[in-house]
């Protein structure tokens, strides 16, 4: 290695940014070259000095509070712009409640009970998703390996959910947990798409035949439901509907 080439690499050598082969070549050169050894020493001294003496300017608590206020304001302004949707959601929730009362009064025969049950489960699925994000109890077993997550459920559930990592397709498996839905313990699988979390809930279905993907949206969350091989799958996320559907499609393949 020439002296000029080595001089260029002393700085990244100190930063541990060279690969092993390059590093050992530079180090070999330094052992035989006084000028480069001196430069390395100077760089080291400089680094020590900068780290010891250059002030690190910390933000004040006032700045933190000020930013926090500004962000909350921005967040609630965003919320207000969406207000009409809030009313529509409220109105439809009221409608839904009225329909339930009606269903109760008129008896189950008048309504397709599976559908009403489906809506209730969808609500439950959303609540469970929200809870998992808020209570920071998202994951019991943290792993991106489907062969770790699947056996973890054995002995905890009376069924074996399909566990599939879709990392290569951009939906990375991050772990799993036990959850409780529809009056029974269920498998909760957690996936990540950019900063969006997808919860996929799985439990045995009463219906024998499989069903194709159906899509719902409740209070800003998208939900895709399907069933296969005697199991029901409910995927829920704040991810956009198209991508969540793609996820479900890939998963059910």
């Amino acid at each position: 290695m020439t002296c000029d080439a080595a001089r260029e690499l002393i700085s990244p050598l100190l930063d541990a940014e060279l690969d092993a082969a390059q590093a050992s070549e530079v180090e070999r050169h330094i052992q035989t070259c006084i000028a480069c050894a001196e430069l390395q020493f100077e760089y080291l001294q400089l680094r020590e000095r900068v780290r010891a003496d250059a002030p690190y300017y910390s933000a004040t608590e006032e700045l933190r509070a000020q930013i926090d206020r500004a962000l909350r304001q921005a967040a609630s302004a965003k919320e207000r712009r969406r207000a009409p949707w809030g009313w529509i959601a409220l109105a439809s929730a009221a409608g839904f409640a009225a329909a339930l009362v009606l269903a109760f009064l008129l008896g189950p025969k008048m309504f397709h009970s599976e559908q009403a049950g489906g809506d209730l489960i969808a609500q439950e699925v959303v609540s469970s998703h929200v809870r998992s994000l808020m209570a920071s109890h998202l994951i019991d077993v943290r792993s991106s390996d489907q062969h770790t997550v699947k056996p973890w459920f054995a002995g905890k559930l009376d069924f074996s959910p399909k566990v599939k990592d879709l990392g290569p397709q951009g939906y990375a498996l991050t772990g799993g947990r036990l959850d409780y839905l529809d009056g029974r313990p269920v498998a909760g699988l957690v996936f990540q798409r950019r900063q969006h979390v997808i919860n996929l809930f799985v439990w045995p279905s009463t219906a024998q035949s499989g069903s194709r993907l159906s899509t719902f949206a409740i209070t800003g969350f998208n939900i895709v439901h399907w069933s296969e091989a005697g199991l029901m799958y409910w995927a829920v996320s704040d991810l956009n509907a198209a991508e969540l559907r793609e996820f479900a499609q890939l998963y059910s393949e």
Binding site: E8, I10, S11, P12, D15, E17, E42, Y43, L46, R47, R49, V50, R51, D53, A54, P55, Y56, Y57, S58, A59, T60, L63, R64, Q66, I67, D68, A70, L71, R72, A74, A75, K78, E79, R82, V130, L133, M134, Q192, R194, Q195, T219, G220, F221, D238
Partner: protein, 176 residues
């Protein structure tokens, strides 16, 4: 509800890097109030564009926004920007007649290091701050500064040579 969660997630990912954001802004703008304004502005932008965050490295992602804010502040007020209008008064300690007994020499050393970093052109100063004070890898710096890793490497090497020369020159100046 969705917004509450988005907000909570933003706070969780981005708020821990407030000191890093302020430190970078303070070094780039060399003024406390300008730095606070730039950081607040950067946080609001970050919140608005949180969707574009890939979930990998919140610090580098945030610092890229902070750096852009600082760059445009410097661009707007190019009259006071950079070395020509550099305000020597900010470096208050008096480095005449250093007295090793009283610690004044030590103080002068600290001041002269800070002055030399402040004299670096902004693109050198930012890589030094991110590397030495934030201890970021070249890869992380390349995200924050939006240049290839090779450029980070050569800028850092050049910045170090300048810094070294500047310090040596000041030591000679003091000794004279």
């Amino acid at each position: 509800m969705a917004d509450t969660i988005a907000f909570a997630r933003f706070e969780q990912a981005v708020m821990p890097h407030l000191h890093a954001a302020y430190n970078l802004a303070r070094w780039l703008l060399r003024d406390h109030h300008d730095a606070e304004d730039a950081v607040q502005d950067a946080y609001l932008r970050a919140f608005r564009f949180f969707d574009s965050f890939d979930g990998v490295d919140a610090r580098a992602w945030l610092l890229a926004i902070v750096r852009n804010r600082c760059r445009s502040v410097l661009g707007q007020s190019s009259r006071r920007a950079e070395v020509t209008e550099f305000d020597e008064k900010m470096h208050t300690a008096d480095d005449s007649a250093p007295d090793p007994e009283s610690g004044a020499l030590r103080n002068a050393e600290i001041v002269s290091l800070r002055t030399c970093i402040d004299y670096l052109p902004a693109e050198y100063r930012e890589v030094v701050v991110l590397r030495e004070l934030e201890q970021m890898s070249y890869k992380e710096i390349s995200v924050a500064v939006a240049v290839p890793v090779g450029t980070v490497m050569s800028r850092l090497a050049r910045a170090r040579i300048r810094l070294k020369d500047c310090i040596t020159a000041r030591v000679r100046g003091v000794a004279r």
